[in-house]
Point group: D2
Chain length 139, copies 4
């Protein structure tokens, strides 16, 4: 599992007083990018290897301006050319679940403009971050 | 089915040259809001009746700066207190499918702060926008 | 003068109930891009010729969700390599001034990575959109 | 002077490969909010006391995805009911100036919906953050 911390920015809220739904996808992207960076991938646009095929977010509790949030990222599954990440957005202090997201990513060679098998090095790294059993049993 | 047209703004792209994934959720929210407005609901934050419980987006083709896009919104299902919308984002000219989204909404009384049964008037209006058969058979 | 119309999106508001200040810069960028497009410039990132050197916005009245706004763009001054645009954001119906922005742009050859003199064709086009006298006397 | 650190998010870039101009205003808002918080003000929307009357940003160098940036905030002037902040956005490591912003804020009683004289406590706090002489001589 990989974890990032963030604080809700004022411009990420909306007129209902909550964090706008679109802002959670900013947090999920941030979590993905930092996760890839922690694996040694994707730190520059010149060596980008991932296409986002799909993303989802379930909203479990309201987020507010200045909330301290933690996003935990795990790997749910790894296929031949794609893998699935699960994100849990929690209040940092209370651990209350605020949102639960997922992202399906395809390994992609941007120079050749085609999908590729996930290289062994990445597969090994992803497997190390496989979702723990308690998280799997939740879904 | 309800349809909106939009043009991709420059700030909605990212350094890979495409529309950023988070921008599609801006488009889906826009489509929802305009759909609710067309039904006579949700035009001001004082009389808001919907909570977004979940949203998803599958990315089918790349979007680019200045693309003319159309978002078609249909109702996939209507339950007692919630309903599901399906959105198809297409290039306006070629009808190419760029993204396919969904949103699960819960009918909510913000003053009482509790979920409520969908009123008959809204149920009737939603049913009128039920997804056409060819769309249903796709999923 | 060049004019665009837009409607405030829900995600462009913030928890104080107003249009967030950062959203106005989205509108100003939109106005610039459409203005350049109307002049036959800047419709794709491959042939981009403008660098934004500076931008400002004065906030005159609150904007709200779903507001219909009009952005009028005029040319305030044209130098050798740069020019200044003035934007007025008004409620479409009442013409109330909501915000007043400006942008200083430098003509730039992205391939050569250097500033360039504004070509005559562009200078002529810009001059046609010079701010009307009443606007000039304001500043 | 008050300082925050941030890292450029992927969705804050645009198709020209740089940080989009609108993203800098997100950073300036973040810097203001954290500055007010450090002074003991503005940490919740219920006790908000500031209206943004005007903001500007001069773009001095390109920012890129994943850049580590520092925003230094100083107080340029304090009037009876308003004050001006100056922000310098620099690359954290090299101190290169990336952008220079400003914000004019009006002290406002949201309950009474009227401007108010800056209270002594805030005036004293602002004065402690007055721009150092070298910064003033720059402008």
């Amino acid at each position: 599992m990989h974890t990032i911390d963030l604080t809700v920015r004022f411009c990420e809220t909306d007129a209902l007083g909550h964090v706008n739904n679109t802002s959670y996808f900013i947090y999920l992207e941030e979590a993905r990018v930092k996760f890839f960076e922690s694996l040694g991938f994707g730190v520059s646009t010149e060596e980008w290897n991932f296409i986002l095929a799909s993303t989802t977010c379930d909203f479990k509790a309201q987020g507010y301006f200045n909330d301290k949030l933690t996003v935990d990222t795990s790997v749910s599954s790894v296929g031949n050319k794609s893998f699935v990440l699960t994100h849990e957005v929690r209040r940092t202090e209370t651990k209350e679940l605020v949102a639960k997201g997922s992202a399906t990513l395809v390994y992609f060679d941007f120079k050749a403009q085609m999908t590729e098998s996930i290289p062994d090095e990445l597969r090994t790294a992803l497997t190390r971050h496989a979702a723990r059993l308690p998280v799997e049993s939740e879904s």
